[in-house]
Structures are given as C-alpha cells and as structure tokens.
C-alpha cells in the first residue's frame, strides 16, 4: 500500500501563520494513535523546518508521509539556498537578520534540534537552488498496529 501523503504550502515571511503545517500534522498523528513522544519529536522538527522556510527560504512546501514502518517530513523551498551546509548545522550558527533575532529567532539551534530529534536528516541545498530538508522517523506505532 502506498504511504499516506499530505502537503501544505508555507508562505515566506508570514509569521502569523508560521507553524500551522506542523500543528496540523501534530493533530493528524494524534488521531492515528502515534506515541506521544514521537509526536513531540516530529512536532519539534516540523516546526523548526517550517520556521526556517518562513525566515530564510521564502515560499515552500511541507509534506508528511506516513507509512506503517516510518514517517517522513520533507520541507522544501526555492529560496536562496545554503552556502555551507556543514557550517549551517553547527549549533549557534545563524544568518538570521537582526529583526528576526529581536523576535526571538536566530539562535542557530533549528538544524541541530532537527538532527537531534529525527532518526535521519538529509539536506539538499546550493546557493540559488533552494533547499530541501528530509527527516525520517522510524517505526511509529500507528492505529494500524493495534487490534480493534
């Protein structure tokens, strides 16, 4: 059976609706009986990824795929891209504008957090080519694994 896939648009610089995709996914997973701790991890990763698009990337797409043995998030944008991925992964590294720092963002903790809370993290990005972040979470317990 093909996995269940849902996608949401992310609008760049829209701080009012930022986080909405991550919240919707959170609700979906809860209805499916996914373990709380896993929902939490996915919510954190989804939120950080979504915020990065809103703040650095511009417009983008947030997709979740749910399979019996794994859940994946794919968050992509066609924004400026990341020059040095290894550098971007460092804790504390940030190119966030000052105005965003004033809003409480730009601690340079987003990507490190995503790495921490996902089982696998893959980034594809190059200057001018946009960014795609893929995160995998292994062996969720979905409603499928429960007897009814």
């Amino acid at each position: 059976m093909p996995p269940l896939k849902k996608c949401f648009h992310i609008k760049g610089r829209d701080f009012i609706h930022a986080g909405q995709a991550a919240i919707t996914v959170q609700k979906l997973l809860r209805q499916m009986g996914i373990a709380q701790s896993l929902i939490r991890r996915i919510a954190i990763c989804g939120y950080e990824g979504e915020m990065n698009v809103v703040m650095h990337g511009g417009d983008g797409l947030f997709c979740v795929e749910i399979d019996a043995d794994r859940i994946s998030l794919e968050i992509s944008d066609d924004g400026p891209g990341i020059e040095d991925i290894a550098r971007a992964m460092e804790r504390g590294f940030s190119t966030a504008l000052e105005e965003y720092q004033e809003m409480g963002f730009g601690a340079g903790m987003g990507l490190p957090n995503m790495e921490n809370h996902s089982d696998e993290l893959h980034i594809e990005s190059a200057p001018g080519k946009g960014t795609t972040v893929r995160m995998l979470f292994h062996s969720p317990e979905t409603g499928d694994s429960q007897e009814d």
Partner: protein, 438 residues
C-alpha cells in the same frame, strides 16, 4: 464520576448547530434535529452554554441549590463572587451569604497567597534540580488540565503537581468546623460557589481521597439574584447587631485580583511568567509548547475563560464590568502579603502542598477514548472530504466537513447526512425512476 459536565434539554433545542460549532473539542453533534453529546470528549468548558440561543444547555451541577439540611453549611467563595457586586465590600458579600442561610462563608484569599508561596518555592527548587520540564503549567484551571490530558497528554508532566487553593481549604476546614460545632465531619457540607461549569466532579479534586468530589457546587449566576437582595439588605443594616461569622480570614484584594487573567502570577516573585486566557489562545499556546517553544519561560498561567475566571460561563456580571470592580478593590486595599514564609516553608518541606495524584494519573481518566485511525481510514477520510462541498456548513450535524468525514469512517454518521451525498443519491434514484416510467 458524573458522566458529563453539561446537559441538553431536548424540548428547548432547535438543532441550530451553534453549540456544535462552538465546542473546542468537537464533542457535540446534531442527531434527529437535536444536540447530542459525545461525553468522552467534553472538557466542561461551557462554551456551548454561552452560545445556545435557546438556553437548552446547562451545567450538570446547577441542579443543586442550597438545600434545606441539618448539616453545617459552608460556602467556599470563589473571589469572582466579589467582582459581581460593584461598590460592595467583600466582607459584606460574605455576611450576606450568612444571612442567606450559609452557616459559614470562607474567603479564599489567604489560601491563594499560600498557594502562590508554594509555586515560588517549587520554581526556585526546580531551577536547581530541573526535575520538571519548563514551562511549568498552572494547575488551577480544570478545563485546561482536561484539554491537555485529552489532546496533549505528552505535556501532562508540565503541570505543577501542587494542590489547588480550594483543595488546601478542604484539607483542613471540615475538621476545623466539625470541632467548632462538635459535630462529625460528615455533618459539614461544603459548597463551592463558582463561575465554572466544571468544578464538582470527581477527577477535579487534587486528592482523590478527600471528599471534595462529593461537594456540591453552585454557579455564581444561580445564587446571584437571591444574594443581591441580601447584599442590599446587609448594606442598610446596623452591623453591630449582626456579628460577622465567617471563619478564617478577612478578604483582601489578592482574591479579587486572582479572578482576572494575570492575577495568579501578578502576586508572585517569578521573572519569566506568562498569563494566557481564552480557549482559542490557550490552545495555540499549548500547541506551541508541544513544538518545543517557551522552554525559557518558567510558568504559564492558563485560563480557559476570556479575561480569566471573571469571564466564566456561570457569572452574572459582564467580565469587563467585573474587571473594573476588581480594579477598584485593588486600589482600595492594595496587594500586601499576609503569609509568614517561615511557617509555610516547614509545611512545604513536609509535602503539605503537594497533590497526591500526579498529573500523569489524570491521563487515564480523561484520555481520548476514540479509536485510533489507520492509514486506510485516513485515506478514506481524505477521499470523503474531497467529495463534500467543503463549506463547513454543519448542516450534517458535525462541526465541519473533516469531522463529518471522520464520523462516517468511525461509523458515527452516514454519508447521506451530508446534503451533497443525499442529493447525489436522490439524482441516482430519479434516473432510475425516470427509466422505469419511460
């Protein structure tokens, strides 16, 4: 445990769907043109009571007023009550309760201060021990606790494991009064006067062993008309003839302050605290905590009702009027503290403030008992949803098209409850009858 917080009176309900749409947990449907409740999803917030134009919905508790009884009756007074009487001193309100028939009326403000002390101490210790995750969530609002248990059980650990002030009162007052009157503790009847439709239920008590679960509650709006008469009479009375018989402490302005959003944290020495009120806002903040935000905030005071408890569904006076009354009381009395930290510290260290039930125990009681949906279910829901008109018209009896699709998959609803599917079916059978008539 009472099976529901609210009840629907069939003969008044017109099936207008207002409550269906207002319910934050989507726990109401229309069936046979009448509202029905999915009890396992109700958190007792009272939003439905507010919006029903027919007055068909009432809190389960308000069936009980002050009963005729030989027992000693004690009113535990939510400070919201004072905010209902502009220009009246809290003491006069308490005395009026006496005249109305309560043997005692207990003001909560001292207990509120004690509670605040305990929160400060807990936070101080948690800064070093880091045993409870930040942000700590106030345990005061039972609706918020239930919302968390139902929708975000992963955050139950954030709820501060302290007793609520009402539970602090209950832990001693019954004995105190039974001794004073030389009656047994069973002959002391505690009433909660409250603006909140969700107070008297087993499961709300901080201690399952104590008896507060059995205590009747009376809505502030229920008692208001009678009390207003008494308050007016009291103010014309020669007070020297009627000694004031409330038990413990003279009210100050900290009680009324507590009734407003922000009042819980305003009296405390914590740097990084937030107050959030109104269910929509509360939901947003809880979702954000779930996404890892606010970890540098120490304490969040959540109130499901807008502007705090003065905005409760069972109040008599508009919340903005009530707020201005509170502000006047604060000006008059100030916000001095009366507690003696040294004494309280000993109590704290002995564990007196701590709730016997862990917030995570709450989970079993409230947990969302709906069946988990499978990937296949989800696919069907998406498909049905794509076939609905998508206007969230609620004419099917569900609050929105997505919930309708879920209901169909769960077996709570039929496809033809939605007019679009009914129409399609109708067309199909017309085609059929057209053919047969040809």
């Amino acid at each position: 445990m009472p099976s529901a917080y609210v009840q629907f009176e069939e003969k008044y309900c017109t099936g207008c769907t207002k409550c269906v749409r207002a319910c934050p947990t989507k726990s109401i449907r229309i069936r046979n043109q009448r509202a029905v409740l999915l009890e396992h999803l109700c958190i007792g917030c009272g939003e439905c009571i507010r919006v029903c134009p027919e007055g068909a919905i009432s809190p389960v508790m308000s069936r009980r007023g002050l009963e005729k009884t030989d027992k000693i009756t004690v009113a535990i007074v939510s400070p919201i009550l004072y905010a209902q009487f502009p220009g009246v001193m809290p003491c006069d309100v308490l005395m009026s309760l006496n005249h109305m028939g309560f043997d005692h009326a207990i003001d909560l403000s001292y207990y509120l201060e004690m509670y605040q002390y305990a929160v400060e101490r807990f936070i101080e210790q948690n800064r070093e021990r880091k045993e409870t995750p930040w942000p700590l969530i106030s345990p005061i609002c039972p609706v918020v606790k239930r919302l968390i248990a139902l929708k975000h059980p992963g955050l139950l650990d954030h709820i501060l494991p302290l007793k609520r002030p009402v539970a602090l009162v209950e832990s001693g007052i019954r004995r105190e009064i039974s001794e004073q009157y030389a009656v047994s503790e069973d002959d002391v009847l505690l009433y909660h006067l409250t603006p909140c439709p969700s107070k008297v239920t087993y499961g709300d008590t901080d201690d399952p062993e104590d008896r507060s679960g059995l205590n009747p509650a009376i809505g502030v709006n229920d008692i208001f008309p009678r009390l207003l008469e008494e308050v007016e009479a009291t103010r014309e009375m020669d007070l020297n003839l009627y000694p004031y018989r409330h038990l413990s402490f003279i009210p100050n302005a900290r009680g009324p302050l507590w009734a407003m959003s922000g009042g819980e944290i305003a009296g405390m020495n914590i740097d990084r605290a937030l107050a959030v009120s109104g269910l929509q806002e509360v939901k947003k903040y809880i979702e954000k905590i779930e996404m890892g935000l606010f970890q540098d905030t120490e304490y969040i005071e959540f109130r499901a009702c807008p502007e705090g408890c003065i905005g409760g569904p069972l109040t008599a006076v508009d919340k903005y009027l009530a707020r201005s009354t509170v502000q006047k009381l604060i000006k008059m009395f100030g916000l001095g503290r009366r507690i003696q930290p040294r004494k309280l510290r000993r109590l704290y260290d002995r564990g007196w403030f701590f709730s016997q039930t862990k917030p995570s125990d709450y989970r079993e009681e409230i947990e969302d008992k709906s069946r988990s949906l499978t990937i296949e279910d989800m696919r069907r829901i998406e498909y049905i949803l794509s076939q609905t008109p998508g206007h969230d018209c609620a004419a099917c009896g569900a609050p929105d098209c997505r919930t309708f699709a879920e209901d169909v998959v769960r077996g709570y609803a039929r496809l033809t409850d939605c007019y679009k599917f009914a129409l399609d079916q109708c067309r199909d059978s017309n085609k059929f009858s057209d053919k047969t008539s040809e």
